[in-house]
């Protein structure tokens, strides 16, 4: 098992000032979420309803997928099915190639990050411009988003200024956020007007109407779609909800959970192509059906990508999104990513203290921390744990199960710490002791005290 997360996190923490800033910024968003949630007396009830709707939809997914396809097709939307990332990317490329279009704008879509669409299209001669401000910043820096709602949250305004200066010829060292936003706006407008194809993600797909809903705060999805001739929307199979009346539950929960806003600035409904234009929806599996087939993990597909679990996670806040080395970081990423590639992501379910805060903030009540625990078991059973860990655990399980061995080892341990403190506190032999002292040890165990003081003969 790789130690990628732990190593990446250690590097992130080495810059303590930036770590504190990252932690405080995300905690501020968690606090905004708390205030927004507290403003609705029915908050916990809403979570329960949302969870029930999603669980129901997952239980009848094939029915709703077919219903959605039929209704969307009736509306004049072209539906494509992609079983994996490569199929998805090829469908996008084919749509572009059919009209010989070489550039595309894209609003936020974590699915296209998961599929590595940008790299694929660029390798095939297509220019892709991400139009979400944060996404554009990380794209210019050749990085991946570090957060699914706030893609550039690992960066400060000075970093953005430097990036814009380098790529967009903005004034050097002008860190004024208003100035930088205007630079980005001018730059993005050029691409909005020039691109004939706009790709968007999908927040919700409504089975009974065949329409999709895209939520943004910047209006960039709408700008892209309305100036383009072709709208491509990429969605995972889990984005479905049965009926339009279910939307209110999710729209009320989504932005409150994500940023503490009552609702996203733009909640745009797309039902059919405009006259003379095309609308495509690509429905992607990419191993979601495998997750669906596993009782332990299927409820992870309820996720609506609000990132509340990121913002509350004390580990995420102190290790940064890139430490997770996946398209989706944070606690939810750590239970989704092992399903996509267990070996490469075997470290992620261990990047948690299992504190359970993620489960509590989740608007659709995914038991994230329990699934982290279950993924740990799976990863060990599949043999992706480190050999050293396996040996240590095996030894420990034998000693701890045998009362005599346990008592002897405990005594030895205490004796060691007492008489060889320099050994016990040696950071090279004992990772605990790098930044922490060992506990002061007593002469006798509780059991010894008990036998002496309480045991009835």
């Amino acid at each position: 098992m790789s130690l990628a997360h732990a190593n990446n996190a250690a590097k992130f923490i080495a810059n303590e000032e930036r770590t504190n800033w990252h932690d405080d910024t995300l905690w501020f968003i968690r606090s905004k979420r708390d205030n927004a949630a507290a403003s609705l007396p029915e908050w916990e009830q809403l979570r329960e309803i949302a969870s029930t709707i999603k669980a129901h939809t997952l239980d009848h997914l094939e029915t709703y997928l077919i219903e959605f396809e039929a209704n969307a097709t009736k509306n004049g939307v072209q539906i494509h099915w992609a079983n994996d990332a490569l199929e998805h990317n090829a469908i996008v490329l084919n749509i572009l190639n059919a009209t010989n279009i070489k550039q595309m704008v894209k609003s936020k879509s974590m699915l296209t990050e998961e599929c590595h669409l940008n790299q694929y299209l660029q390798a095939n001669g297509i220019q892709v411009v991400d139009t979400d401000l944060g996404e554009r910043i990380v794209q210019l820096r050749n990085e991946i988003p570090s957060h699914i709602v706030l893609p550039a949250i690992h960066l400060k305004k000075q970093d953005v200024s430097e990036t814009f200066h380098q790529h967009l010829q903005s004034q050097k060292d002008n860190n004024d956020p208003t100035y930088l936003t205007r630079v980005a706006r001018e730059h993005l407008r050029e691409h909005f007007f020039a691109s004939k194809v706009a790709l968007t993600g999908v927040n919700f797909a409504v089975a009974s109407t065949g329409s999709i809903v895209v939520c943004t705060n910047e209006g960039n999805a709408d700008l892209g779609v309305h100036t383009a001739d072709i709208h491509i929307a990429s969605m995972g199979i889990e984005k479905l909800i049965p009926k339009p009346e279910h939307l209110s539950t999710f729209l009320r929960l989504l932005a409150r959970s994500a940023t503490g806003q009552p609702i996203t600035t733009y909640s745009s409904h797309f039902t059919k192509p405009q006259a003379g234009k095309q609308m495509h929806v690509i429905i992607v599996n990419n191993k979601r059906t495998e997750q669906l087939a596993q009782d332990d993990f299927r409820s992870s597909l309820k996720c609506i990508r609000c990132a509340a679990c990121f913002n509350t996670c004390p580990v995420y806040r102190r290790s940064g999104g890139h430490s997770y080395h996946t398209a989706i970081a944070g606690p939810i990423g750590s239970i989704l990513s092992p399903n996509i590639d267990m070996k490469a992501n075997a470290d992620l379910p261990f990047a948690s203290t299992l504190c359970g805060s993620c489960t509590n903030v989740c608007p659709v009540k995914i038991d994230i921390h329990n699934q982290l625990w279950k993924w740990r078991q799976r990863i060990v059973q599949e043999g992706y744990d480190a050999t050293s860990k396996k040996v240590a655990m095996k030894g420990m399980s034998v000693v701890l199960a045998n009362p005599k061995w346990y008592r002897l080892t405990g005594k030895l341990g205490r004796w060691m710490i007492k008489y060889f403190p320099s050994l016990a506190n040696n950071p090279y032999l004992n990772v605990w002791a790098k930044q922490r002292n060992m506990p002061k040890v007593p002469d006798a165990s509780f059991r010894e005290w008990y036998i002496k003081n309480r045991k009835k003969v």
């Binding site: 770590t19 708390d34 580990v315 203290t353 805060s357 655990m393 399980s397 990772v431 605990w432 059991r447």
Partner: protein, 248 residues
């Protein structure tokens, strides 16, 4: 009332005073307390590291020690939660009975004994550390993420202690970063989390930090000692036991 005392392995070995305080406190509250002599570890270190399948011998030993107990009481939310959720033995009735009858100390005092006040004296400024497994797992107190009425069984007991003034850190229930084997496999994050918790308690000017899990407190005390911070940790049982008389 007959109580079987379940003492976590590391408390037995490193923090006997916490176990003694728990035993004495339960006795003062009128319980007959028995410590099954051949108990070892609940198996949590293996299970939380992904090796639940290696915990079966620990499970059997635990079940053999606590077979037939009316009440199994433990001064740790984390170990209690582990038994409640993950104890597996072939005799499913036994498994069910043990899971049903295991209680964290504060939970037992408040819910089973019905005690809401403890006549102890501890004239100090005390910071409260809400350990995650007791709080979010056993629901010993309300949680900042959930929009429900606030309550806390351990804090209620602490607030009844004479002279004690209770302080909460700014982020009232953020994890301290111990996390079992996490504390060494993710050493950097673990320590950073602990340091951040401690700074909030230092800012409150408390002399002690208390909580119901020695593992969290051991981690925090390790950092306190290394950084020579002006406070110290103390298990809640040690505070509640600061009394000579019957508590009720």
């Amino acid at each position: 009332m007959r109580v079987q005392l379940f003492i976590p392995c590391y408390v037995d070995q490193f923090f006997p005073n916490v176990a003694i305080a728990s035993l004495e406190l339960l006795e003062k509250l009128g319980c007959e307390v028995v410590y099954p002599l051949h108990q070892t570890c609940c198996g949590q270190p293996m299970a939380n590291t992904g090796y639940a399948h290696l915990a079966s011998a620990c499970d059997s030993n635990f079940a053999a020690n606590f077979n037939g107990a009316d009440y199994i009481v433990c001064p740790s939310g984390s170990c209690t939660l582990h038994i409640k959720e993950h104890l597996h033995v072939s005799d499913t009735t036994l498994q069910h009975n043990i899971r049903k009858h295991v209680y964290e100390l504060n939970e037992f005092i408040v819910d089973v004994l019905g005690v809401k006040k403890i006549k102890a004296t501890f004239p100090h400024k005390v910071g409260y550390h809400a350990s995650c497994h007791g709080q979010r797992g056993l629901h010993l107190s309300s949680m900042s993420e959930l929009m429900v009425a606030a309550f806390s069984k351990p804090a209620m007991l602490l607030q009844s202690v004479e002279g004690l003034s209770l302080y909460y850190p700014k982020r009232a229930d953020e994890c301290c970063g111990f996390g079992g084997t996490f504390c060494v496999t993710e050493e950097a994050v673990s320590v950073k989390m602990g340091v951040d918790r401690l700074q909030e308690h230092v800012a409150n000017g408390v002399t002690y930090i208390t909580g119901n899990d020695m593992s969290c407190l051991m981690h925090l005390q390790g950092i306190i000692d290394r950084q020579s911070l002006p406070l110290q940790t103390i298990h809640i049982a040690e505070i509640l036991n600061k009394t000579e008389t019957l508590c009720r």
